[in-house]
């Protein structure tokens, strides 16, 4: 058992290492996106671009650049050259909104999936089961961004039931926070109810 865990842990580190290299390379092979040219502005003279390159360490060989990036990641100093801000800080900033969305949606889809799965098991083969199966299948067959757009149009623009956007922090006003998130929560949940209710329950179309 101990050996198995160690083997798996070594495998995990190897996979993480490979992922970091792939991520580094994907964004390094993008041509025409020379960050130095972008920072130096339009019609910058080659000297300036060269100086920015040296500032950012882009004149170094790729392995050195990779090591620099990894060192900055582990020391939390990674800085975005586009916004010139610390990446960890930016991630922290986005965290509350992301977690509010994900946790709320997960609570909804888990409860509804359990309910749907229970109902279709109890009424196995009968109308309720078939209807729920159809609903789940429709849910997983929709592009979620499209569903969001349609709901936004009908429920926020036409009927004006929900706000059209923006995010209110939980600490500021819990009610307003939930009010702004109801529509996104349910939109996300529609997709996952299908997966988690087992989509096809015990019976599926044949009986």
């Amino acid at each position: 058992m101990g050996r198995f865990v160690v083997k798996r842990l070594i495998g995990m580190v190897a996979v993480l290492f490979a992922i970091s290299i792939i991520v580094f390379l994907i964004f390094n092979v993008i041509p025409n996106s020379d960050p130095a040219a972008r920072i130096a502005g339009k019609n910058a003279d080659p000297d300036l671009i060269a100086r920015v390159n040296i500032d950012l360490g882009l004149d170094q060989p790729l392995p050195v650049q990779y090591l620099t990036m990894m060192r900055q990641i582990f020391t939390g100093q990674l800085t975005s050259y586009a916004s010139n801000r610390n990446v960890v800080e930016q991630i922290w900033e986005g965290l509350p909104a992301t977690f509010s969305l994900c946790i709320g949606a997960a609570v909804i889809w888990m409860s509804l999936a359990v309910l749907f799965g229970y109902l279709s098991a109890v009424h196995s083969g009968r109308f309720a089961d078939r209807a729920l199966t159809v609903l789940s299948l429709v849910g997983i067959s929709m592009p979620v961004f499209w569903l969001a757009a349609i709901l936004l149009y009908f429920l926020s623009f036409k009927v004006q039931l929900f706000p059209t956007g923006s995010y209110v922090p939980l600490t500021e006003d819990p009610l307003d926070w939930a009010y702004h998130l109801v529509l996104p929560w349910f939109t996300l949940a529609v997709l996952f109810i299908g997966f988690y209710s087992g989509c096809c329950g015990p019976t599926c179309w044949t009986r």
């Binding site: 993008i30 067959s141 929709m142 592009p143 499209w146 757009a149 096809c200």
Partner: protein
Amino acid sequence: MATPLGEVEVPDGPPLPVGIPKSQIQGRSPWYLAWLRLRRNKVALGCGVLFILIVVFSLSAPLWSEFVAQTGPNDNHITDTVVIDGNETDIVAPDGTPLGPGLRGKYLLGADQNGRDVMVRLMYGGRTSIYIGVAAAAVTTVLAVLVALLSGYYRGWIDSVLSRVLDIIWAFPVLLLGIALGTALAIGGLKVGPLAIAGDSIWIPILIIGLVYVPYMARPLRGEILALREKEFVEAAVAQGMGPIRIMGGELLPNIVSTIIVFFTLNIANNMLLESALSFLGAGVRPPNASWGTMIADGYQMIYTAPHLTVVPGLMIVITVLSLNVFGDGLRDAMDPKAKIRLEH
């Protein structure tokens, strides 16, 4: 014998179809029995027919474009007018609002902000979306079957290496990897040896979508092969002196064909959803080419003034993907009702 890791139970045979005289069943091939089961599933059959109808609808795009709408999918008509009920009407009103849908040959589904005929674009977009879905599913299937056969047959270090490679792809969120590769490859194109693909080629999204779904198909297939590998018929084949390629192609592959067919069908549905998401985010099909995803992306900018631009292509995606999902589900039940194969996300 010790059971290998990740073993999947391979049923000895699906139960026979019910309600059919025994004389019709005895001695028939499994394919015929699967067809007997599928035939009873009217909803799945209907969805299969519906998908074929959508394919025919999309393939007839040039006919509609030539004889009814008389405009191409990428032709702009911002300043043109069209005669409706005897009145000359702007295709795009001065305030930027395009023509809405109506019963007529030209602009049946209205126009978009560039004065392009939505019906024509919808048909051409369907060709692109379905083509990407099917071609990417073919890429995924070929790669996944190869990986599954190799790691399931050889096991040992080959399996370890291939499984780790799958782990790497698996570790990325599908959409994120798609966007990263999509933007990276769209600018420079792809050049690997003699193979060169331009950045605006439809093959960039096809290869990306095909690649990201490989682990999702290869893992369950590998499990099946690992289980089959332990069966007596493989031992018998080895004893007869068959080579690895003959055993993989002639003994193991035929036993997973039904799984592959089901996966292929469900994979097309998934691919079409991913294509629409990538195109919506600008990392898939390049404008001005139409696909249902790019049409939603174009229409979304005008959702408050011209919602039909968003609703129509989205509905087409839902109907197509739904029909494929239901048909694939019925196919799975018909081919192997006991199997728990399911394409994960």
